[in-house]
C-alpha cells in the first residue's frame, strides 16, 4: 500500500524514473504513433492532384509532426520520423528509388538540416519562422535534385512558383505546430513517463 502511494507522489512531482534507460517503451510507442500519423498525412496528400502546372506541389502538413517532434523530443527523433515517413510513403506509392523518391528524400534532409541549425543558432525564432524557412528549403532541395537528374539548371525556374507556396504552407504548419504544443499533449507524456 505504501509502495503504491510513493509511486503516485513520484509521478505527481514529475521526476524522471529512477533508472533512466536508453530504451523507453512509452517513448517508442509515442514515436510509432507520430510516425504513423506522419505517414497517413503524407500519403493522403500525395493522392490530391496538383493544382499548378508544376509537378510535385504538396501541402506538406506532415511537417507539423516533424516540427512538433523536433521541439518536444529532439533532433534524432525528428530525423528518424522524417526519414521513416519518406521511405514508407515512397513504398506505398510505388516510387521507391525513382526520381520522386530522391526528390522528397533530399527535400526532407535539407529542410531538417536548416530547421535544426536555425533552432540551435537563432534563439529568438519561434516554430513559425523555423518551419517556414524549413519549408522553403524543402522545395529547394527537391528542385535541386530535379535539376541534377535532368542535368539542366533551367529546372530552377520552377522555384519561382514553389517558393511562395512553400512559404505560405510553412507558416500554416508552424502555427499548427505551435497550437499542438500549447495543448502540452507530448509534454505531459514526457513528464508522466520520464523521458525526453
Amino acid at each position: 500500500m505504501s509502495e503504491g502511494k510513493e509511486k503516485k507522489t513520484l509521478m505527481e512531482e514529475g521526476e524522471p524514473s529512477p533508472k533512466p534507460s536508453h530504451f523507453n517503451l512509452h517513448k517508442m510507442t509515442l514515436m510509432a504513433i507520430l510516425l504513423a500519423l506522419a505517414i497517413a498525412i503524407g500519403y493522403v496528400e500525395s493522392l490530391i492532384p496538383s493544382f499548378l502546372p508544376v509537378g510535385g506541389v504538396k501541402l506538406g502538413f506532415a511537417n507539423i509532426i516533424i516540427v512538433v517532434v523536433l521541439y518536444e523530443l529532439g533532433v534524432w527523433e525528428a530525423a528518424s520520423i522524417d526519414l521513416g515517413k519518406v521511405l514508407v510513403v515512397a513504398l506505398l506509392r510505388g516510387s521507391f528509388l525513382q526520381m520522386g523518391f530522391f526528390m522528397s528524400l533530399s527535400g526532407a534532409v535539407v529542410s531538417l538540416l536548416i530547421m535544426v541549425l536555425l533552432k540551435l543558432l537563432v534563439k529568438p525564432l519561434t516554430e513559425v519562422g523555423v518551419s517556414a524557412v524549413g519549408s522553403m528549403f524543402h522545395s529547394f532541395g527537391q528542385v535541386a535534385v530535379g535539376a541534377l537528374f535532368m542535368g539542366s539548371g533551367a529546372v530552377f525556374y520552377y522555384y519561382c512558383y514553389l517558393m511562395p507556396i512553400a512559404l505560405a504552407t510553412g507558416v500554416i504548419v508552424g502555427i499548427a505546430a505551435n497550437r499542438i504544443m500549447a495543448t502540452k499533449v507530448i509534454a505531459r507524456q514526457k513528464r508522466q513517463y520520464g523521458f525526453d
Binding site: V54, G129, A154, V155
Partner: protein, 133 residues
C-alpha cells in the same frame, strides 16, 4: 500588435531574408540569357546531353505553319510542334501532361521540363547580335 511583433520579429526578419534570397536566385535562374528575340534557337536535352537528332533547332527558320517533330525520350517518344520562334509539346506518354498544358513557349530562358522522359527544352537567344553600334 506590439505583442505580436515582440514575439515574431525574429521570425519575420528570417523569413524575409530567405524569401528575398530565394526570389533573387529564382529571378537569376529565369532571366533570359543574352540574345535578341528575333532569331531564337531551341535546345532539347536528355539527361543534360543534347539530342543527336533534332537536339538543336533554329526556330527562326520555321514559318508560321506548325511543323511536327518526333523526339525519343528516356521512356517513350514525344511529339513536339515548332513554328516561327515558338515551340511546344504536342503529345507525350507521361501521366501528368504538365509539359503539354504549358503551351507555346516563346521566351528565352523559360524551359519546358518533362520529368517522365528526362527531357528539357530550353530556348536560347542568339548571342553576338546584342552589341549596340
Amino acid at each position: 500588435m506590439t505583442e505580436f511583433w515582440k514575439k515574431h520579429l525574429a521570425d519575420t526578419i528570417t523569413i524575409a531574408f530567405f524569401a528575398i534570397a530565394g526570389v533573387a536566385l529564382a529571378i537569376y535562374a529565369a532571366l533570359p540569357k543574352n540574345g535578341t528575340y528575333d532569331s531564337l534557337k531551341a535546345e532539347i536535352t536528355l539527361d543534360g546531353k543534347r539530342l543527336e537528332k533534332n537536339g538543336y533547332l533554329d526556330l527562326s527558320s520555321y514559318g508560321e505553319e506548325e511543323t511536327e517533330i518526333e523526339i525519343i525520350g528516356k521512356k517513350s517518344p514525344m511529339k513536339i510542334g515548332v513554328k516561327h520562334n515558338a515551340i511546344h509539346v504536342l503529345s507525350s506518354d507521361c501521366p501528368s501532361h504538365y509539359c503539354i498544358s504549358q503551351g507555346w513557349v516563346t521566351e528565352p530562358g523559360v524551359p519546358i521540363v518533362c520529368a517522365y522522359n528526362h527531357i528539357v527544352i530550353t530556348i536560347l537567344g542568339t548571342s553576338g547580335n546584342d552589341i549596340n553600334l
